[in-house]
Symmetry: C2
Subunit: 105 residues, 2 copies
């Protein structure tokens, strides 16, 4: 009697977990921050200058990314520095670009 579920069949719960991560990545400002963080850690003030929105908005975007497990933060003195926790995310954008090119081409 086999009680181990086959690996290749995914549960609804697993798709929901994936969707949460994807959702965290599905906003232009958050993608812009991820791009910046791919070149090294940044404080919130750096990112707010980059994004140009209210600092509270930027902070909330970062908390979305943090809750999804995409970035980590560390306070040093008065500032909080964020960095990419899972850089493999960057690999995906080549593929996304190919989607965009196919759309426009």
């Amino acid at each position: 009697m086999n009680t181990t579920p086959p690996k290749e069949v995914l549960t609804a719960h697993q798709f929901a977990e994936r969707a949460k991560v994807m959702k965290a990545l599905a906003h232009p400002s958050r993608l812009m921050m991820i791009d910046a963080l791919s070149r090294g850690e940044r404080c919130v003030c750096d990112l707010q200058e980059l994004i140009g929105h209210d600092i509270s908005t930027v902070s909330k975007h970062l908390s979305v990314l943090k809750k999804a497990g995409v970035v980590t933060d560390e306070r040093r003195g008065k500032q909080v520095y964020y960095r990419l926790k899972v850089p493999c995310i960057l690999n995906f954008f080549h593929c996304v670009e190919s989607v965009i090119e196919a759309n426009n081409g």
Copy 2:
């Protein structure tokens, strides 16, 4: 005088384009459909059985994926068959899984 923009600096517009594609992928039902389509084309009725939602809901999810350029459709007789247009999307889920594992571990 250099008028060619440097490749590595991305515009707000480009991040917005990427976000559109990510947004299309950021829903459990749509991820489930993509997973099914990764094993071959499916008609809307197949996918509705898989998802379990109203057929109109499933159809709208598919139109989101289609508009994002992730899938294509083809009518054959009474049925419309969908298939993955850009399979490289699948590669990303290994990375997403590693995010999820890091979150739970």
